[in-house]
Amino acid sequence: MKRLMEMFLRRLGSLLATLVVMSFVIFLLVEIMPGDVAQMILGQSATEEAVAALREARGLNDPLLERYGRWISGVVVGDLGDSIYMQGVSINSILWRKVGHSIILAMTAFIIFVPLSIFFGVLAGVKEKKPTDSIISFFGLATMALPEFVSGVILITVFAVQLKWFPIVSVIPIGESIWQNLNIVVLPALSITLVMFGYISRMQRSSMISVMNSDYIRAATLKGMPRRYVIFRHALKNAMLPTITIIGMNMGWLFGGLVVVETLFGFPGMGSLLMTAIKTRDVPLIEACVLLITVIYSVSTMITDIMYSYLNPRIRYQGGQK
């Protein structure tokens, strides 16, 4: 337990270091994006005077380090600043609402695709080279090969246009909350499921096969243990390891990187917010979104590592059994 704690602290330290470096990289990247923010804001009818006045008013003329310092000191205390457009409207009030929507979408997708892909992955692994395996593998490969904007359009065509079960666009009517419109989550979540299913089920299948062929499973089977017991008690725990890594690695994407899916469905989440921010060069908003996504990625990687070592004693006790 002490080792686990030590590892946790070490990971936390490197996480913080990563975030500091990343925050500067994000700031720099946004800085060198082509196009001028003030020009962008004012549009074509902007005169040079107007652009200059706006640059001055928004503090865009200050030196880079000064602006970075101002930004990061706000971020540390939870103030992400104002959107460059809506003065007086803090990014916090824009961002968290969208993050809430994204979390609901990610959670929905997660509880659909994780059990589904693990179950079918295990099934395919256990039934290796049998028709069940072939069907699952074929389906997995097919959905993996389809990018989400293609599978998304197929889903829209079938479930929204033809069957009319779900709305074509995931828009929350004005004055209502997402809870009154949970049906808008379904199609985007299914679209994510299709992308993730092939990936995870194939990973689960191959690790299941290798575990099932290992000596200790053969020994367990030979001593007459029931097959169900062998699969779920002995094989699954070990076969889950690579799958958990894959799931963990995709958590960041799931919570913050769904730009394509959200844009396609018009879902009011963080991905589409990021898209809007980039399109309109809303620098503080881009920085806030990207930083948040970085945090999610780092934290989910950390959790994955910790879970991994919990499940796999060989990693937990790397220094040898004491």
Binding site: P34, G35, D36, Q39, M40, I41, L42, G43, Q44, S45, A46, T47, E48, E49, A50, V51, A52, A53, L54, E56, A57, S83, Y85, M86, Q87, G88, V89, S93, I94, W96, R97, G100, I103, I104, I111, I112, P115, F119, A160, P167, I168, V169, V171, I172, P173, I174, G175, S177, W179, R228, T263, G266, P268, S272, L273, M275, T276, K279, T280, R281
Partner: protein, 520 residues
């Protein structure tokens, strides 16, 4: 078999339990989500009459620095001294009831009485004075600063009379008040800190709820001065960054109006029952050649380029429309629909002549040049591609350089050999002339500095006699036809709209007039 079944049921139960738990967890978040909403919460009663609009995500919306997005929102909240009648093109009185001038130097405006701002304060002459003087505020970067530099003083005669004295005669000065950035603001309201989050004016609709980057709900102004207007109870505006998503919303009956669509989108909605595409007015695309550098410093090269064009082909391949039926073409800065327009013969395509002119100018084997355009602007790609191909036959080897609009405007525009730029129409074209075609003008994309032309532009803006002014306009257009570096392609501004929305009005000022619209 039974085992498998029980595993399946187990999984299913697990999923259901998880969903329920998650729902309960997030239900608590409702209060924090509500806090993100600016303004009063929406009442749950079913709206009686509502028009739903999908618009671009707004940039700055405070009049003065408003970048011209979300026209449906701002034009409904704010009002102007005068507006353009979308049907007749005449000036209609709004907050000013009448105006007069002595030869264009001193302007007196009589103001409408009994008008109230949305915050309850009275509209008076002080507000007009404030709005005009605000254009010169250096910290603001007002987009109409240059236009209003001609104002010498603004005097409040009484509560409902304002007198504006100009430094020099401007017979068409009154048209400046139709510009979308000249909405009349309250002198008592703090636009610097509230203008972006709580827009407030005298308009027919009031901001009821604004969710940043997502939506806005406007409700009928109960104290609106015009009897019987507005006809609908509310306007729901969704900010949608993606035009395809906007059209999906229209197709699935989530919105009723989608403005500013492209010709490709028009083809997509053509043939859908209950949806039409209308074109309330034309916009201009200026194909400008830079005259202070080779090769276009030689008028023969400019003429060769113009001889290589084919207006009919441009109309068809750019907008899938016929010439003079949706798309218009001339070689001057004056739109075909304006009274000032002089009909000059349409230049017939003549490749032999174009080649001959190029040879005379010293380019017997043709020449290479670059054309810059905004690739994400409607008609940008189509027009530049067509121009490239037409010009190629005469010996122009054009390399196309397309950039997103902000990059194009901030990095290339005004400094390139050929550019294609979108220009809104001006009901008084003299405003545009001094900005874009006079030596030293801030948007002089072709770098013109011709004494004849400068003189003509000066005369047009100060001439009080309308007939004489018209004569100058005609002279100017002839100059452009024979020497000009400009091709003016006028393309339709397209709006996709449900058939049950009636009375859509949007004049050349680009400001839609939702107060006249109704939904059946």
């Amino acid at each position: 078999m039974q085992r498998k079944l029980s595993i399946m049921i187990g999984l299913l139960v697990l999923v259901v339990v998880l969903v329920v738990v998650l729902l309960m967890v997030f239900q608590k978040d409702e209060t924090t989500q509500e806090a993100a909403v600016i303004g009063e919460p929406v009442e749950k009663e079913a709206p009686v009459k509502q028009i739903r609009v999908a618009e671009q995500v707004p940039g700055l919306i405070t009049p003065g620095v408003w970048d011209g997005q979300v026209f449906s929102m701002n034009s409904s909240i704010y009002e102007y001294l005068i507006e353009i009648n979308a049907e007749t093109g005449e000036l209609d009185p709004v907050l000013a009831t009448s105006w007069e001038t002595n030869e264009g130097k001193v302007w007196t405006f009589k103001l409408r009485q009994g008008v109230k701002f949305h915050d309850g304060s009275d509209f008076t002459a002080e507000d007009v004075k404030y709005t005009i003087e605000r254009t010169q505020d250096p910290s603001l970067g007002h987009l109409k600063k240059t236009d209003f530099e001609v104002v010498e003083s603004v005097r409040v005669v009484d509560d409902y009379t304002v007198q504006v004295t100009l430094k020099e005669a401007r017979p068409t000065f009154v048209y400046l008040f139709t510009d979308y950035n000249m909405a009349i603001l309250s002198s008592e309201y703090d636009y610097a800190s509230l203008g972006e989050s709580k827009p407030m004016g005298t308009g027919p609709f009031m901001m009821s709820q604004l969710v940043p980057k997502e939506s806005a709900l406007l409700k009928k102004n109960p104290n609106y001065w015009a009897e019987g207007l507005p006809k609908i109870d509310q306007i729901a505006i969704y900010f949608v960054g993606d035009i395809d998503a906007s059209i999906s919303m229209l197709e699935s009956d989530r919105v009723d109006v989608v403005p500013f669509i492209t010709p490709e989108i028009q083809q997509r909605v053509d043939g859908i029952d209950g949806i039409s595409v209308i074109s309330p007015y034309q916009e201009q695309r200026f194909i400008s050649m830079r005259v202070d550098e080779a090769p276009f410093n030689d008028n023969r090269v400019r003429l060769a380029f113009k001889y290589a064009m084919d207006p009919k082909v441009i109309a068809r391949s750019t907008a899938k429309m016929e010439l003079n039926d949706g798309v218009f073409y001339n070689e001057t800065p004056i739109m075909n629909m304006l009274a000032e327009y002089k009909e000059l013969p349409l230049r017939e395509r003549n490749i032999a002549k174009a080649k001959q002119l190029l040879a005379e100018a010293g380019y017997p084997n043709g020449l290479s040049t670059e054309l810059y355009y905004a690739s994400d602007h409607p008609f940008g790609k189509e027009l530049s591609q067509t121009v490239k191909e037409l010009a190629a036959e005469a010996g122009f080897d054009i390399e196309l350089k397309g950039y997103t609009r902000d990059v194009y405007l901030s990095q290339y525009w005004l400094n390139v050999p050929i550019s294609i730029t979108g220009w809104g129409g001006r009901i008084d074209p003299s405003m545009l002339l001094s900005l874009a075609f006079k030596g030293g003008g801030p948007w002089n994309e072709s770098h013109l500095d011709e004494p004849v032309l400068n003189d003509l532009i000066e005369k047009i803006s100060s001439e009080a006699d309308p007939d004489q002014r018209m004569a100058y306009y005609h002279e100017l257009q002839e100059w452009f036809y024979n020497n000009g570096p400009l091709i003016n392609v006028q393309v339709p501004y397209l709006v996709a709209i449900k058939d049950n929305v009636v009375g859509y009005r949007q004049p050349l000022t680009m400001l839609p007039q939702y107060k006249y619209m109704d939904i059946l």
